[in-house]
């Protein structure tokens, strides 16, 4: 065993020497490079997939080099981000909430590189944040679900109890309430962002309970497929999930990250970039709806269009539908008529509105 250790140490030492001498020669010529760090796999039709569509868009539009790492656990993120920084990337996008602290930590050591963190709240001189008001799209899909349900029971397969998800469920439920005050939204928590087997089970339990429209907040299309198998309808999330359930899938609340990546990369390339907190909505096209299924009647499309117009024309605040009167599950008035919830309140939302059935795990 001793010999083995000596041998290994010798090998390590030679490699070290080799590495130190070679490192400088591998430096490449300057070109604009953008890197993306993803929490999930890019092929999942979900969150990371939607971001990767944005990456492909800017790569094509600007002819720049882009690179990505998928399924990076939060504990590994700091190394991955730092590796990109060491390799001289001009801008690094970190696309999960858990990457916030690592992004800030690495950014401190590389003041000349631009960092953009998605969905967090910490910024620095060279760190900006970006996110989208997906709840606006959730609200519109809620209208579709509310008008399409016959049993007046709508199921929601929910990932993890954080404000972002709760905001989405509430906006969805407010959409349902707007068109169908008798319908309720039934929430089952799965506890993960990506676990097709568990999502399937949750969707099945909701359908057995009598729900005839299934919405979801996860990255996999499992709930859509279950809806199709049981002959009920479904609402997708993250990206257009039509192809996974062509009969069930009515529409989906989708991300279009290319809009914001385009804006940021352009600014960085032109030297106009500054640290911002971007939180765009449907008016900028960062969030939107997937094309309607052919079974969705014209009158539903019309109502959705009318509500959408309100955002586009600026008739409602960006926080809409979080405008009073809003009641919580206990029937308590949270916001009086006409009062608008602040962004701060949206970002830390931890209650369900009155037509949601289910609890937030504490």
């Amino acid at each position: 065993m001793k010999k083995l250790i000596v041998l290994a140490v010798l090998i390590a030492a030679t490699l070290l020497l080799l590495g130190c001498t070679q490192e400088k020669t591998t430096e490449q010529k300057k070109e604009f490079k953008a890197a993306f760090v993803y929490i999930g796999p890019v092929g999942d039709a979900g969150w990371s997939y939607a971001h990767d569509q944005g990456r492909k868009f800017i790569e094509k539009k600007y002819g720049i080099k882009t690179s990505y790492s998928e399924s990076v656990p939060e504990g590994e993120a700091e190394r991955v981000i730092r590796e990109y920084a060491e390799q001289g990337y001009n801008i690094i996008f970190t696309t999960s909430f858990g990457y916030m602290d690592p992004t800030i930590a690495v950014a401190k050591d590389y003041p000349n590189i631009v960092f953009e963190h998605c969905s967090g709240y910490k910024t620095a001189k060279n760190v900006g944040t970006y996110f989208g008001r997906i709840y606006q799209a959730d609200y519109l899909t809620g209208i579709v679900a509310g008008m399409m349900t016959k049993s007046n029971k709508i199921g929601y397969v929910a990932p993890v109890p954080i404000p972002e998800v709760i905001r989405g469920i509430n906006a969805f439920a407010l959409g349902v309430k707007k068109v169908n005050p008798n319908a309720t939204v039934h929430v089952v928590w799965v506890g993960t962002w990506y676990d097709p087997a568990k999502e399937r089970e949750a969707a099945e339990s909701l359908i057995n309970e009598g729900c005839d429209v299934i919405a979801q907040g996860q990255d996999s299309p499992a709930a859509q497929q279950v809806a199709q198998e049981h002959g009920v309808h479904s609402i997708g999330y993250n990206s257009d999930m039509y192809k996974f359930a062509p009969k069930a899938h009515l529409t989906a609340a989708i991300w279009n990250w290319s809009v914001v990546y385009d804006y940021i990369v352009k600014n960085v390339m032109e030297g106009k970039w500054k640290s911002e907190k971007i939180w765009w909505g449907i008016d900028k096209g960062l969030v939107g709806l997937a094309p309607f299924n052919e079974v969705v009647p014209e009158k539903v499309k019309k109502v959705v269009q009318e509500e959408k117009e309100k955002y586009l024309k600026g008739e409602v605040p960006e926080q809409y539908p979080f405008v009073g009167p809003i009641y919580d599950q206990q029937g308590k008035l949270v916001k009086a008529k006409g009062e608008v919830m602040s962004d701060e309140e949206l970002l830390s939302m931890m209650f369900f509105v009155d037509n949601v059935v289910g609890e937030i795990p504490k």
């Binding site: 065993m1 010999k3 083995l4 250790i5 041998l7 290994a8 390590a12 490699l15 070290l16 080799l18 590495g19 130190c20 070679q22 490192e23 591998t26 890197a35 796999p41 890019v42 092929g43 690179s67 990505y68 790492s69 998928e70 399924s71 990076v72 656990p73 939060e74 504990g75 590994e76 700091e78 190394r79 991955v80 730092r82 590796e83 990109y84 060491e86 390799q87 909430f97 858990g98 602290d101 050591d109 709240y121 993890v160 109890p161 954080i162 404000p163 506890g191 970002l347 830390s348 939302m349 931890m350 795990p361 504490k362």
Partner: protein, 344 residues
Amino acid sequence: MRIERREEISKIVLYSLPFLSILASLIFVGILLWFVGVNPIEAYYIMLIRTFGSKLGLSELFVKSTPLILTGLAVAIPMRAGLWNIGAEGQLYMGAFIASFVALNFASPFAIPIMFVLAAIFGAAWAFIPAILKAKFELNEIISTLLLNYVAIYWVEYLVYGPMRGKNVYNFPYSDLFPECATLPRFFDTRLHLGVIIAFLIVFIMYLTFRKTSFGFSVNVVGANPRAAEYAGIDRKKIIVYTMLIGGAIAGIAGMEEISGIHHRLRAAISPGYGYAGIPISLLAKGNILAIILSAMLFGFLYVGGSALQTTYSIPIAVVYIFQSLVVLFIIGGEFFVRYRVVR
């Protein structure tokens, strides 16, 4: 057809075996890389350069190997007594939990030593349950340690979604950041933290314990032949409990070091399976305490080199996982075919 132990194995074959196995796996993985459009020679070169050729790579190698060294030990020590500790993951989480509790509620200049001691005690306590069940009732420790992992992991999950959820985290499932006095000092502007040194120290202490003390000798006897051990007057049950306690304590320390050295706050999923990785690490080292360092560093290298591959080529994570598992499979499998042969 049956499998038979080879009687004579040449020393040269035995010592060069790990390297031959690695070489074989590299050829295999090379084909795989070539399939996804990556030049394998260049890829291996990049893995080596990025890991050993820069301050970042080298420091990360040690940072990554540290929890692996500890969980490797947590499996290897009970293994010397013939026990399978599949529960290092849960023991790690319990250590992380109590360390976080101290860090967030009892900030003081003594926070770090208290966190170390309590993490070791909680890790050990978590291992004590299966140990006592094994010693008293011969309850299979593989099942009990494995199942207790889930309890510990979900316990931490419950805490970060509930009572330990921070006030300044916008209701995300994290605790608040630890105060500075409860985080392990870092060196050279890297993530290299005090825990790295402590891990090596623990290896050294364990090495001495098993080399020089009668306790270490007793453990080896129990592991080699439990019946002979009892004839020799060694209390087998005591050895079962003690080795599990030591293993659990070390895994608990691993949890404390991760939380206080890397994450600086409690969160779910603090470990990407370090506790489970401890099993092949221990197997690879054949229970040899010092060899744990080498075998954990090999795993650390696969992690660090794997992410270097990703950042360079944007290859699917699945390819990286296959790479990592093939290397381990080849090494453990190669060992088997040298020691045994198939006879018709």
